[in-house]
């Protein structure tokens, strides 16, 4: 079987992407709503006000419905690394497996243990024990996000490892540099905050619905205020971490940055595309067709964001493939050169293995040294054409720009809701209540688009520069993956429909039912 069968790679990617996207429909709310309901329960314990207890229980029920389906989609993601990305699992499992195991030991058990007290312990444990359990459930969820995002960040920016030709895999040499890599830390805060923004949007949106219906007004006013404060803080912080994300991408994944901006030809002092439409006639990075039909730029902004220098050179797609521009690490190599060196690295590994079998230690030493010299380009050896290095530019470009626009919109929305909430005029602002309600889906859209930027933008790499997706897969037929893809799609969709309907019914019942 030819394992570079494009359809197997595509189906494997599609299955993982679908699972991840479904998973991400549920996780953000768990992270955000979890904190909000914990804050409300804290207010209940502090003030003794039964209204806060009622509010806590209402949001907690919605949390529970959402949580269950997040768990269901999460387990598949973990196992899919093995089932669909088996080469990956060996090639970097020495590094990648650890965060997953730690996630299980340190985060999932915390969640699983305390969630049971949170739901069933109201009459069985003391108020403070219950409150602690609620916070620990949310802490567990957040810790699990930490470890899985550390793992994801490592794929985008592999650090703390060394290739071992004897075991034919990468091995961990520095745990702390993996955990505290700037990409990992930024990714953790950016992603968790996106969950918090989602929580804020959800709470102000649902509270608005109660205010529109003139039901549970006291509860809704209390909730909307908590949601808006929480939302505005989160949405401001996420703008800050978003800037950090772009900076990290510029340093470690220049091709992703170029795709995010639709930038083919780089220059010094590049502007940031604030609004733009890509030209569908642009078929190749080599042609001279203008990549944009229309764009509004903020002058110098991309250079500032990417390198903190208004005159910095930001490479475009063509520059990255052709090489020759200056970077802090020296002159950038062309794709052709990296491909040649990658091939040489793979050949050195093969020669090393033959020398070991032949017990020729002198030759083995030489091949090992040659491998080490070229290892930084190893993954390029699997990519034949320069085009193989370019992610899908329109997907990444539009995902990025819509996500950023939504981010600014959320800041404005939370600010307005907070303003009118403190002026006690929010009930009368019907338009704002409707806008808040219909902004709930936009939170989901922004989160999914964020992941599209991160994951589509790093194609073709499973691990940046080290292993492209086509060398990371399992040796199974594409028909098998197609079948499981369809089964997952049907099952997830059915469960999602059920989840949404249950949520709507629970919301209609309102907090009085609790």
């Amino acid at each position: 079987m030819n394992l570079l069968d494009a359809s197997l790679v595509d189906w494997s990617r599609a299955q993982f992407a679908m699972t991840a996207m479904y998973h991400w429909l549920f996780v953000p709310l768990t992270l955000g709503l979890g904190v909000i309901m914990s804050i409300m329960e804290t207010l209940y314990v502090k003030t003794g006000d039964e209204q806060w207890k009622k509010a806590t229980k209402f949001w907690m029920t919605l949390f529970g419905v959402n949580f269950a389906i997040g768990v269901a989609t999460g387990i598949i993601l973990e196992f899919e690394f093995g089932t669909n990305w088996s080469n990956y699992s060996w090639f970097v499992g020495d590094i990648f497996g650890a965060p997953l195991a730690i996630e299980g030991i340190m985060a999932f058990f915390m969640e699983a243990t305390f969630i049971s007290i949170m739901f069933f312990g109201w009459k069985k444990v003391s108020k403070k024990f219950h409150l602690a359990s609620t916070w620990l459930t949310v802490l567990g969820a957040t810790l699990s996000a930490l470890w899985i995002l550390v793992a994801n960040a490592w794929m985008q920016y592999p650090v703390g490892m060394e290739f071992n030709p004897d075991t034919v895999r990468n091995e961990m040499i520095d745990f702390w540099s993996i955990l505290f890599s700037p990409v990992a830390m930024n990714k953790f805060f950016h992603t968790v905050l996106s969950g918090w923004v989602m929580g804020g949007l959800f709470v102000i949106g649902i509270s608005s619905w109660f205010l529109i219906k003139k039901r549970e007004v006291d509860f809704a006013l209390k909730s909307i205020r908590v949601g808006a404060i929480f939302g505005i803080v989160s949405s401001l912080l996420i703008a800050y971490t978003g800037d950090g994300s772009a900076y990290n991408v510029a340093q470690h994944q220049p091709m992703k940055l170029a795709a995010m901006e639709g930038l083919y030809q780089g220059k010094a002092g590049t502007g940031l595309v604030a609004v733009g439409i890509l030209n569908p006639d642009k078929k190749s990075y080599k042609d001279s067709i203008n990549p944009y039909l229309f764009k509004v730029q903020i002058p110098y902004m991309l250079s500032i964001l990417a390198y903190r220098d208004a005159n910095a050179f930001v490479p475009g797609v063509k520059d990255i493939i052709d090489g020759g521009y200056q970077t802090p690490k020296g002159t950038a190599l062309s794709f052709e050169e990296r491909h040649k060196r990658g091939k040489a690295a793979i050949q050195s590994l093969s020669d090393y293995q033959k020398a070991i079998t032949a017990k020729d230690s002198t030759a083995a030493k030489l091949h090992k040294a040659a491998l080490k010299e070229n290892y930084a380009h190893f993954g390029y050896g699997y990519i034949d054409k320069a085009e193989g290095l370019i992610p899908n530019v329109p997907t990444v470009f539009y995902s990025f720009h819509i996500m950023v626009a939504l981010g600014f919109y959320f800041i404005a929305l939370f600010a307005l809701v907070l303003f009118f909430s403190y002026n006690n005029k929010i009930e009368k602002k019907k338009w704002l209540l409707w806008v808040s309600l219909w902004s709930i889906p936009l939170g989901y859209v922004a989160g999914e688009l964020g992941w599209a930027v991160a994951e589509v933008g790093r194609q073709p790499w499973a691990i940046q520069d080290v292993l492209p997706v086509q060398a990371a897969i399992s040796n199974i037929s594409s028909a098998s993956v197609m079948i499981t893809f369809v089964l997952f799609a049907v099952l997830f969709t059915a469960l999602l429909i059920a989840e949404i309907r249950i949520m709507l019914k629970q919301i209609q019942k309102g907090p009085e039912a609790h």
Binding site: A68, A72, S86, N87, G97, F120, K124, I173, I346, I476
Partner: protein
């Protein structure tokens, strides 16, 4: 002295222990497989669902952690088995996905598919989930048809290092009768533990009496299938590894020899079996004896753990390849690096902390037995 070999053994112990804990916690699945038979009225069924529903997350989390720990400590297994025996693992996964939502969704209005669909999901999870996990674990003793060739990574057109030898991708394990024996043993064990759990937890004389009767129906098949598997395995050829060369060969009575050569494991194994029997027989003999679950549960953990130690210790290949014997996985050739095992071992020191808070939480929630009034009076009841 903490050597590489010590850490490989330590991590195989952790994996075995997690497998033991998982086997015990499968009582949740065992109970689910009896949802429709053990209960006769809606109240009874609801009571069973809610009693199990407070524990299902422990089983689920243990399964996930078992996977994660296996990945971190023996990544070649993760790569070879999951990527090769694709259909068996996918089937197991499906059984668990449908479980995760079924408690929370079943009695909520608007759940689209109705309460019986979700309860059927729980039933399927209980029936197939337990059986398939048993079959998958049995292949640790009976072998699977796969090849591992790490030098494939240098083949640009076919870089995958492990490949399965047939198109069944794991389902062929169902053609081996010995695998069935362990699958059925796990299934009936889970059910036996479930009835012991119900006897311990429920404040419901009718269900308790019925559970005692069900113990017969499940413990006897369990003992028969388990003993058949164990005796068959002990007297079969096993997969021995030459510690000096790493060469794998078939050895007569290998697993029996392992037990004799590792007396501590043998004693643990026997103690485990005795504890399970004490839990079961004690419950039969005395109507007042309700702590059977603790004996049988602890016994299960110890027995399953020692069985897996027999599969991996004493120079044995724990995931054997047949016919390509030399592709077999051992705790030496499939483990993570020394550095990673060390780092993970430090993390593993948190396990007692985890166990401690689980114990505290469990105790604070289980001060009294559960009855239908508890379920009706709980606004989060399923």
């Amino acid at each position: 002295m903490i050597t590489y070999s010590f850490l490989q053994h330590y991590w195989w112990f952790i994996i075995s222990l997690l497998a033991g804990l998982l086997a015990f916690l499968l009582f949740v699945q065992g109970g689910q497989s009896m949802l429709f038979s053990l209960s006769k009225t809606e109240d009874e069924r609801r009571l069973l669902v809610n009693t199990l529903g407070r524990k299902w997350e422990f089983t689920f989390t243990t399964l996930v952690t078992f996977g994660g720990a296996f990945f971190a400590s023996f990544p070649l297994f993760y790569s070879t088995s999951f990527g090769g025996a694709y259909w068996v693992w996918m089937a197991i996964l499906f059984c668990f996905i449908i479980q995760a939502v079924s408690y929370e969704f079943q009695s909520k209005p608007g759940n689209v598919f109705g309460i019986n669909t979700y309860r059927s999901f729980l039933f399927i999870n209980g029936l197939l989930g337990t059986f398939l996990i048993g079959v998958a674990i049995a292949t640790f003793f009976t072998g699977s048809d796969f090849n591992v060739n790490k030098s494939n990574i240098t083949q640009q057109l076919a870089p995958v290092i492990s490949s399965w030898g047939n198109e069944w991708h794991g389902l062929e394990a169902l053609l081996n009768l010995r695998n069935w024996m362990l699958g059925l043993a796990v299934f009936f064990l889970a059910r036996s533990l479930a009835v012991l759990f119900f006897i311990n937890r429920l404040n419901h004389p009718v269900l308790e009496a019925r559970s005692r009767k069900y113990l017969w129906y499940n413990a006897i098949p369990f003992v028969v299938f388990f003993l058949t598997f164990v005796i068959w395995t002990l007297f079969s050829d096993g997969f021995a590894v030459d510690p000096a060369t790493g060469v794998v060969s078939m050895e007569k009575y290998k697993y029996f020899t392992n037990l004799i050569e590792m007396p501590v494991v043998l004693v643990l194994f026997l103690l485990g079996v005795v504890a399970v029997l004490v839990g079961v027989i004690g419950t039969w003999i005395s109507a007042k004896f309700k702590k059977g679950i603790w004996f049988a549960g602890a016994g299960t953990v110890v027995t399953v753990c020692s069985l897996l130690l027999v599969a991996g210790y004493n120079n044995t290949a724990y995931y054997p390849a047949t016919p390509a014997l030399q592709s077999s996985l051992t705790i030496f050739n499939s483990s993570s690096s020394l550095f990673t095992l060390k780092a993970m071992s430090i993390v593993s020191l948190f396990i007692p902390v985890v166990l401690a808070y689980i114990f505290i939480a469990w105790r604070s929630m289980e001060k009294k037995r559960i009855d239908i009034e508890d379920v009706n009076g709980d606004d989060h009841a399923y």
